[in-house]
Symmetry: C2
Subunit: 272 residues, 2 copies
């Protein structure tokens, strides 16, 4: 398994923040990233539909011979993880569990807020994961559907973004949380603004770094890390034409993307 | 052809505003509506992908034996109409041409603004359609990507929506347009706010009523209108589970929807 790549997928570009952390922690590993840009976003869609998409993408990545799968999309992690773990034999890592673990570690009061898409929040996946780790924790959740389009529009520090954040977050401020989980891969782009609105007493948790740590642990445990002397290659697949992904992706990844290939999953043979 | 239904499709629920006008103008006609809720929105996707989706949906509706197709989605009308007209033998009506015609009719100064999704605006379809009707018209366009998520969030008259509208529309106000085309089926939900921001000197044009008129004309011309004494039935298909469509759809249609069926286009046989 050692020489195989790490597979990562997201509904679009947001998961590149997770890829960046994985590539930083494990620079010797090859990665294959899939962004479902022809069907993005997932956060407004039903669990059944998101699970079907996640299954199709995982089939595609497994046929490209990955050794571990990272579901970098919070919505897909929230609703599709049990199905993927049941259907596929490779290790599957979501972003919910690592984010929940980090939140429980850093919170002193045990009052933890979680923000995400409608799909993620409706699933209660974060609440369950946090309560499993700390049954006494109090979890307050809030869906923030406008944060994704604001981040994609690049409106991350103007008056519209500020007012939107104040509208969504006021009830979490009033509830006196001391930790806030950014439960969507787009939200790190709004992090300075969210920090400003929440105030300095609240710690913001984003799952990307913690997820990369989990991936490193699993690969080390299974003794299938590539030698440190190697330098990994990164390949990208998307379901819509690559232009938009490349443009926004460079902002997310913080550097220039390599080659990006388009693939039509609906035509892809051997569906699982 | 007389007894066949009128087919209507949109990326989601927005096209129900067009269905409402058609059902109002032609209450004797059956309709079949398709909302592509598993892949919504189209406005951020490439012309190639939107055209592929439009072709799949049209194949589905043609197999259900429709006599005319209405592309109620502005983005799909803007990029896919020539392909659909080439591939299918039934009349195909988009929403761009009727909206452009209405704008040219009502504008006195010939300075016409058009707002829509990124995909619609990038296509320049409205500008071309307006210039064909009035080569001396001056057309100013502006993509307003946040209007769709605002309408779906139900934020149509709060301070965030007002500030967003002011930010997007200021340059159209400065340019002194006297007519503004609402080039997206979601925008009628924001109409009172847009009217307030634009001021009373600007006429707002939405394509739905004009599109219904075009449909009535074509059916009359082809002598395949059903007799006035009939009452049409309305059937709905969606690609995601129906719950969300029904909830938002009742707001768009202004009455209770009938039965809504889910269909997976990717499994649908005899793909065109």
């Amino acid at each position: 398994m050692t020489w195989q790549a790490v597979g990562i997928f997201d509904s679009g570009v947001g998961g590149l923040t997770v890829l960046r952390e994985i590539a930083g922690a494990l620079p010797q590993e090859d990665t294959i990233y899939f962004g479902d840009t022809a069907r993005v976003p997932y956060g407004t869609k039903s669990p059944e539909t998101v699970t079907r998409y996640a299954r199709e993408i995982t089939s595609f990545l497994v046929r490209r011979d990955i050794k571990l799968l990272v579901v970098a999309c919070n919505t897909a992690s929230a609703v599709a993880l049990p199905t993927l773990k049941r259907l596929f034999s490779i290790p599957v890592v979501g972003v919910i569990e690592p984010g929940a673990r980090r939140a429980v570690e850093v919170s002193r009061s045990g009052r933890i807020g979680v923000i995400g898409t409608a799909g993620t929040i409706r699933s209660s996946a974060y609440t369950r994961a946090i309560k499993r780790l700390d049954p006494s924790a109090e979890v307050l959740t809030k869906a923030c559907p406008l944060f994704v389009p604001l981040a994609e529009e690049g409106w991350v520090d103007n008056q519209v973004a500020r007012l939107t954040a104040q509208t969504y977050l006021q009830e979490l401020i009033d509830a006196g949380i001391d930790t806030l989980v950014l439960g969507c891969t787009h939200y790190p782009l709004l992090k300075p603004l969210i920090a400003e609105v929440m105030g300095s007493g609240v710690i913001l948790v984003d799952s990307a770094a913690e997820t990369a740590r989990t991936v490193a642990e699993i690969l080390a445990q299974k003794q299938c890390l590539r030698p440190d002397s190697e330098t990994g290659n990164h390949h990208y697949y998307v379901s819509d034409i690559p232009a938009g992904f490349i443009r926004v992706g460079n902002r997310f990844l913080g550097e220039r993307l390599g080659d990006v290939y388009q693939v039509n999953l609906e035509d892809d043979e051997e569906e699982f």
